[in-house]
């Protein structure tokens, strides 16, 4: 069974709950934490890979806790032809997946850091950021 890759977004009221413990103990899921971060306002994101027969029940449990769950079946890609390397996106990207390399001032995109908030699609003035379904790869 291939692992399902998901993004969790949680607020201050759920950030301190032992969610991972419940997923493993009660739903018997194999969990790989790809990335986790919590900001000063106690809001956080977590990227997980989950494997197990009770995956759907585990997702329902997460949603009942008030956690936003999104599948990573899509990804954000940069159209290198279109990107003009301005850098406006970098200050709007919450995980610094888009960042400026100094001193060259080149704009880089690290897809591994992307949590699919899609803010860059709204910000990019030349529409260089695109969403791609992973099944199309």
């Amino acid at each position: 069974m291939a692992p399902e890759k998901i993004v969790l977004r949680f607020g201050p009221e759920t950030a301190d709950k032992p969610i991972i413990y419940h997923l493993a103990k009660e739903y018997n899921l194999v969990i790989n934490i790809v990335k986790a971060s919590i900001n000063p306002h106690k809001e956080g994101t977590m990227v997980l890979e989950l494997t197990g027969e009770r995956y759907e029940e585990g997702i329902d449990f997460l949603r009942q806790q008030g956690i936003t769950v999104r599948s990573l079946a899509q990804e954000v890609v940069r159209n290198e032809e279109k990107c003009t390397q301005c850098g406006q996106c970098t200050v709007h990207c919450p995980t610094k997946a888009l960042y400026i390399e100094r001193p060259s001032m080149e704009v880089k995109f690290n897809g591994d850091e992307c949590i699919l908030c899609l803010m860059c699609l709204k910000i990019c003035p030349v529409h260089a950021m695109e969403v791609r379904m992973l099944s199309e790869l």
Partner: protein, 397 residues
């Protein structure tokens, strides 16, 4: 002895392939290494560049005549209106014009996905564009409508004519209000959430010649990937020097250029249709100017660094839209490029609106053109008014 050069002497050296050309970045290193006097003796030309949204851009088009003839009093290109209140089959398409039925800001913030700037990019890319025109019919121009496909190659002329480009310096835009705002400087988060700045600092053409000692009517330039010309000062050309608290001159600001060139020579890499959410469309234009090193003073300005060049910080939440004037202080381009600045005691992350890597590429391209002898300097038949002219904007009541 301090060097003096003429345009003719520099052009003679370019023709012989002997001209020494450095980019505005390279000359900084050379001056640090060898000093002004020695560098001025060695270097003939410094090349600059900027790649930035420039709203006051557009193209004059002549489509050729149909049989029977039409005067074309209304024109649309890919459903974007162009101004046709000039001679038959001439039209001017502006970068910020929007497609008919674009929802604008009716669902705020609007997306503004297609406008005049995108038509210009499509034309330059060689794509087919739908032309629709209407007229009232005259004895000499009887036809009343036409609809057909055109490409850039098919039509007689396409003259890029941008009446206000290449702003000498620009505001660093912030938002002091408690709401997110959408501006031509991008999306600004509330309560000093971010700061956006334009120009490419030490690579920017007019920041490197603040007194406009070398720029005037007939200056030959890199424009949109082709060769263009400065044809006049831009609209709202009010050059002045920003000063520090002690009245010491810091940086030029307020100058603008009117530029013109043959769109058929240009390249979509350097003319890019651009959409600012909640604001509208604009054209991102690549411009590079060569600065002839006629004397040491011109070199000293051309060698200014990001540490020595400053932008004013402006609140786009209230002060700018309400026309209140005043600013929140000056900040150096070096600081802006580091990624955060301090305003009112708060650390504010910065992001550019202009592309520094592309500005650098323009300065290198122009350098290569000159080194290969393909590009001679255009001696201005008249210099643009400088800060000494004291030009100031008038308010509309």
């Amino acid at each position: 002895m301090s060097i003096q050069r003429t345009y003719k002497e520099i052009n003679d050296r370019i023709k012989k392939g002997q001209a020494v050309v450095l980019t505005a970045e390279e000359v900084i290193e050379r001056v640090k290494d060898k000093g002004i006097t020695k560098t001025a003796q060695e270097v003939d030309v410094v090349t600059t560049g900027t790649f930035s949204p420039m709203c006051s851009s557009g193209v004059f088009l002549n489509f050729g005549h149909t049989k029977p003839r039409i005067r074309m009093s209304k024109v649309w290109l890919n459903n974007v209106p162009a101004y046709a209140g000039i001679a038959a089959v001439d039209a001017f398409l502006g970068a910020t014009e929007l497609a008919e039925q674009d929802p604008r800001n009716s669902k705020y913030p609007g997306e503004f996905r297609y406008g005049g700037s995108h038509v210009i990019e499509d034309l330059v890319a060689g794509k087919t564009v739908r032309l629709r025109a209407g007229s009232y019919g005259t004895d000499c121009y009887p036809r009343k409508e036409v609809e057909t496909d055109i490409t850039l190659q098919d039509i007689n002329e396409a003259i890029l004519f941008n009446p206000r480009n290449c702003y000498q310096n620009y505001n660093c835009a912030v938002n002091l209000s408690d709401k997110t705002i959408h501006t031509y400087m991008g999306t600004l988060k509330p309560n000093l959430g971010n700061a956006h700045y334009a120009t490419s600092g030490q690579l920017s053409p007019l920041l490197k010649d603040p007194h406009l000692k070398t720029i005037g009517i007939g200056t030959r330039i890199f424009l949109g990937g082709g060769i263009g010309y400065v044809v006049w000062n831009g609209t709202q050309h009010f050059p002045a020097m920003l000063k520090d608290k002690d009245g010491k001159e810091l940086t030029g600001a307020g100058g603008t250029l009117s530029v013109l060139g043959d769109l058929k020579q240009m390249n979509p890499r350097w003319l890019v249709g651009t959409s600012f959410r909640g604001y509208g469309t604009t054209l991102t234009v690549g411009i590079g100017l060569p600065i002839p090193i006629l004397n040491e003073e011109i070199l000293a300005y051309a060698a200014k660094t990001d540490e020595e060049l400053y932008a004013p910080i402006m609140d786009y939440g209230k002060a700018y839209p309400q026309g209140e004037g005043g600013n929140l202080g000056l900040v150096s381009y070096a600081q802006l490029k580091k990624g955060s600045i301090t305003i009112q005691g708060k650390e504010v992350p910065t992001a550019p609106v202009s592309s520094y890597p592309r500005a650098r590429e323009i300065s290198y391209t122009l350098k290569q053109w000159i080194e290969k002898g393909n590009f001679l300097l255009g001696e201005p038949s008249q210099l643009l008014p400088g800060p000494e002219a004291g030009l100031q904007g008038k308010a509309l009541s």
